[in-house]
């Protein structure tokens, strides 16, 4: 095991981590504003992947436009989910919202099976995306580089929106205290909707990347990124955008290094490892690495 191999694993981890981070950010934003776990968040990734597949069938559409369309598609699905499943749950106990979002997730997955069949579909980006680039001991495909660059760009845009715009302040105020936000004249329904739209758009584009990276998609693919996003968000601190970014990259790195550096027999235990990490995090560091302590309401 030489340094080149380790470096390659790290690069792979960062690529995987970018996708986890994008999904985790959306998840964390939604949790931050309505304090509910959106189980269906991972399934938006699946929808994004299939939307990309569908759009790629239309030969004339440039890739950039496909990406924008997928962002929009993700946003719309997110807004529908908010209006249909989460808005009616506002004020209900935490677990009720959880069950509802679990139901939405199962519904989306099975609608996918219903209309798209459970057969995995092949997914391939245009040839120039698949080209290998060599950079010293490390090699990666163009699509991998695109993933990282796009992720960084999107994160910067997100931070700009959240910290520099009127909407962003409204979102952050609503996340902190809904009642007082209303007293400022903020329309919290719109703030929540916007949060869902942005978070889901990110999940959608992560679906595009996921398809490009793994080459095969099926209606149940959302399960994995959904859970990993949750774990990443918990690691970084649920509710914190920067925490989600950090958690996503850490999780990606940890997963790749776990498989890459440990003897192969342990590879099959990867999911058990990941979930054990989750349980440990929830017990020892419930606020994650960057999160703030949540108030225990008496």
């Amino acid at each position: 095991m030489n340094s080149g191999y380790v470096l390659q694993q790290i690069v792979n981890g960062l690529i995987l981590g970018s996708m986890y981070a994008l999904v985790a950010i959306g998840f964390s934003m939604i949790y931050g504003i309505i304090r509910l776990i959106n189980f269906a968040h991972g399934d938006i990734v699946m929808i994004g992947a299939f939307a990309t597949l569908g759009l790629m069938q239309l030969k004339q559409v440039p890739f950039f436009v496909i990406a924008l369309a997928v962002l929009g598609c993700g946003a719309m699905v997110g807004m529908v989910i908010e209006r249909g499943a989460f808005r009616p749950m506002r004020g209900a106990p935490q677990v009720t919202g959880f069950i509802a979002s679990l139901a939405v997730s199962i519904m989306i997955q099975n609608l996918g099976i219903l209309f798209l069949t459970a057969q995995p579909r092949n997914f391939s980006f245009p040839a120039y995306m698949q080209r290998l680039i060599h950079w010293g001991p490390v090699s990666f495909r163009v699509v991998d580089a695109a993933i990282i660059v796009t992720t960084v760009l999107l994160m910067l845009m997100l931070l700009a929106i959240v910290y520099r715009t009127r909407l962003g302040v409204a979102m952050r105020a609503t996340a902190e205290n809904m009642d007082v936000a209303r007293l400022m004249g903020i329309n919290i329904n719109r703030a929540i909707w916007a949060t869902f739209a942005i978070g889901s758009a990110l999940a959608g584009i992560a679906g595009l990347m996921w398809g490009g990276k793994f080459g095969q998609i099926d209606p149940l693919l959302g399960y994995v990124p959904g859970l990993k996003a949750f774990i990443a968000a918990v690691i970084g601190g649920v509710g914190s955008i920067s925490g989600a970014m950090l958690g996503g990259f850490l999780l990606g790195l940890a997963e790749v290094l776990f498989v890459g550096l440990l003897p192969p027999i342990y590879a099959a235990y990867r999911d058990a490892f990941v979930f054990s990490t989750l349980i440990v995090m929830l017990l020892l560091l419930p606020n994650g690495l960057l999160g703030r302590a949540s108030e225990e309401r008496a």
Binding site: E176, R182, L183, M184, G185
Partner: protein, 242 residues
Amino acid sequence: MLNIDNLHVYRGKTYVLKGVDLHVNAGEIVALIGANGAGKTTVLRAISGLLRPQNGHIQFQTAPHSDPIDLSALPAEKIVSHGICHCPEGRGIFARLTVRENLMLGAYLRRDTPQIQRDRDEITDLFPILKTRFGQTAGNLSGGEQEMLAIGRALMSRPRLLMLDEPSLGLAPVVVQTLFETLRKINRRGVTLLLVEQNAVMALELSDRAYVMETGRIALSGSSNDLAANDAVRRAYLGGRR
């Protein structure tokens, strides 16, 4: 300016306000005093729209001689746009946002940017401590500073009616003095005040008129001077005979 008529409000299943009548005239300072749990906070929350009344009317004149509108059916965001600002219990500042962002949130519904800037400068002159802490997270401020931030933020919305819920809570007496002087200054500039207070002594000193609430109803009302001299009030809320 503000007229509340036979207001009945429930919080969940609890029957809190059992027929409250009160009014506030433009330019006044009106105090609402009473023991814990009497329903004072609920009155403010019903006015600002955080709670919906079961029965009764809340009429508000949005401009000096206009027809009053009924607030009880409007959502809180709309009510704010009519010129009512509610400073909730515990100040309600956004601890994770900066002082600057908190202040600017007060002007969330306003579009006249140059005027907003000027107002902000005025307010930071009124509360110089906010200028020093301008870029800091609001959670780092002391209790008194947070109260000033809350009021400053409220002023940024140029309210016609400013409602304060227990502004003196948790503040040292000296700070409370300054606070109430500032409130008087604000009132002289033309802002009508409706004040909910546990500190009955200071509330009656500051206000023109007052209402005493007991278990969901108005027990007494009148000019603050009269109430301060009233024996029953003295015994219950002002610490007995002087």
